[in-house]
Assembly symmetry: C2
Homo-oligomer: 462 residues x 2
Amino acid sequence: MSDPVIAELRRVLPSERTLEDPDILDSYSHDEAEWAPHSRPLAVVRPGNAQEIQQIVRACLTHRTPIVPRGAGTGLSGGANAVEGAVVLSTERMTAIKEIDNTEQLAVVEPGVVNDHLRSACAEHGLWYPPDPASAPWSTIGGNVATNAGGLCCVKYGVTRDYVLGMQVVTGTGELVRLGRRTAKGVAGYDLAGLMVGSEGTLGIITEVTVRLRPTRPPERTIAGYFDSLADAGHAVAAIGAAGLIPSALELIDRHTLLAVDAWKKMGLSDDANVVLLARTDVPGAEGEQEAATISACFTESGASWAAISSDSQEAEALFAARRLAYPALERLGPVLTEDVCVPRACVPEMLTRIERIGQQHDITIANVAHAGDGNLHPLLIVPADDAPARRRAQRAFEEILDAAMDLGGTVTGEHGVGLLKRHGLTRELTEPVLAMHAAVKNALDPHGILNPGKVIAPCAP
Amino acid sequence: MSDPVIAELRRVLPSERTLEDPDILDSYSHDEAEWAPHSRPLAVVRPGNAQEIQQIVRACLTHRTPIVPRGAGTGLSGGANAVEGAVVLSTERMTAIKEIDNTEQLAVVEPGVVNDHLRSACAEHGLWYPPDPASAPWSTIGGNVATNAGGLCCVKYGVTRDYVLGMQVVTGTGELVRLGRRTAKGVAGYDLAGLMVGSEGTLGIITEVTVRLRPTRPPERTIAGYFDSLADAGHAVAAIGAAGLIPSALELIDRHTLLAVDAWKKMGLSDDANVVLLARTDVPGAEGEQEAATISACFTESGASWAAISSDSQEAEALFAARRLAYPALERLGPVLTEDVCVPRACVPEMLTRIERIGQQHDITIANVAHAGDGNLHPLLIVPADDAPARRRAQRAFEEILDAAMDLGGTVTGEHGVGLLKRHGLTRELTEPVLAMHAAVKNALDPHGILNPGKVIAPCAP
């Protein structure tokens, strides 16, 4: 017999919106954070518009049923993992780009629009939507906004937060409201749109987003550097900052990752380098040429064994292939537990040293890719399949990496979000009074605790 | 006999921190929004550090005494106006720049640091703090953060919000907490630091701010254009956007302002122009030369009667003098009521036309300066001194300008804040459920309603 909330959902929505097939339910039970707890949801609902989302929230409010909002399920912290008795609300049907406005340089989109689709659509108008998480080919704007997604170009252009002008959300009390604005500037009231960004569906369900765009940028030049040591690569990153430059990407790939990519794709990178830095610049003309030359000089003067500039897009793509192939190459070796700490830029070499030590102590291979220019590291903990003790060791190493990042003045999550995996870390990063402020804000905007309960912060009493 | 809260303040703080001289109290009774209501405060306290601010909040909490935080008192919306029985907390003694970090490109400052002082100190390190409100020579970072101040260069570089990484605040429950971060990226929990920005002291008292910096930028080129009509100037602004350019400033000065400047400084501007556009570009080298030429061409092709590029800083300063002299020139004509609406960029000419009509209907001279590139207009309503009926007509015109901005899809405040002057406007801009969200957040973080009560939103029951 169906749960009463399902009966109500079937009554208020077209019946095909609500799915109950167990196999389908299982496929919606978690995002990419399989390591985090998840359960089979009661149902999956796939609304077609904002009004239907409001109906769903109201039905769930009546029955005090938890709602887990979900974009493409590419999250890495478990923010979209289903909890016991929850309804998963998938925005997959809401894929309309409602408006691209050239004069105001903004777009209005439904939450299920895929990041790359928005980017292509903007390009046709001579406009650019910068935030570029690695999941851009699949992840949705709604999910990007809910997690405040970062990416490669945010070292120069900022994160999702910096591009959200306004949004429409359904609140925890079932109201459909507009927050933020369409104008370039505006300070009318509290920044509630900004508060929603990165709140991982715990304060409201996003039904529409208005994003700021930029004019299309010039083609990028890529600068690659091979290094023997992490310390040298760290100096190169600092030297670029000291030269007053802001590259449009600055990525680091460590030896473990190079070895994994080589083992798969025979690129021979690990024969020549222990650490690779990849920078990009999109400054146009002679100034851009000069900037690329300066970055290359920063590499060489910091001890790079090889450095080169490429403005040929195919050649540049080949250089970035190792970065792009890192995850799949490492996943060939076993299940990967993805970290996402951010430390002060200057601490990147020290943090990588500590990660290496933590890996040795727990007998866990930890590969690293990093948005080095931002101090945002992604240690990737590799565990042999079906090795339960190794899995437990990896989880201890995971928590120790969080502590090391905080010890260096960093944060437990740079861009992936708290979800479930970083909840304990969050309670260590934030003080009691700040956690109490979180609980107070959550209670204020979701007084019945139905919006993605148990994520980010512990569930709060109503 | 002193109020008991004053006795307690004198007990917990060094005695010279608390001022009670009536003349001094009067001088702290309002900011630049003399048009808004204000009262003589009970006392003025000038704490020397965060711990003293915490003591003040706790004393006021005990006695349920309202606290009105105040930076330099340059606000234009009455956010720092004293209410009956309040203690004014002035940050004027807290002027330390605690840290400027070159590698992390950030500064840590006390709230009373003057904007221009921070900018000069950063320049010595090859760094730049972009937000540049017109009040920059006097206004403080604390006040800038509390109001999310804008300025001229935010058309390219964003507003104060975009430069706040973290802060220390005393909450409405008397806790001293750190919000936000020091790292380039971070998504650990709700963006409470962002929520504080622009909340005008109603959610917490800022005791320290960590701001993001940029490398020093190249010298700017200035492009000036004289136009016969607002429509032509509006086309020029749209043409610059359509050309894919983001100037580092794009200001508009209307005929009333030009006449007032000429009447004072005999610059003869109004002989040649009805509307002046002033643009800047800070793109370096040949690309910058090209960008300046394109902006100049946009002016000419949109019907400018004269357009010229200047890379000589003295000549450029002379061109910007009319913009800088606008306020004092207009204040010579009588008390000025300063507006601050923001509309979609494309609506600037239509908005200026509506403002002209509203001025005629109410027999009020309304001059305009505008951050045209952002759609942020500052209509300046001039009223003869001691003319009470004209004052009432100006206030009606003020409210009608807000309605016109909203009718065009704009907002009642682009950068000055709600304070007292825009409270009615805010209730028209936001829907009931969104106002209820504001009240819920206010109650959550200031449950006893002691933080700048009556500002931004109506006071909420505890």
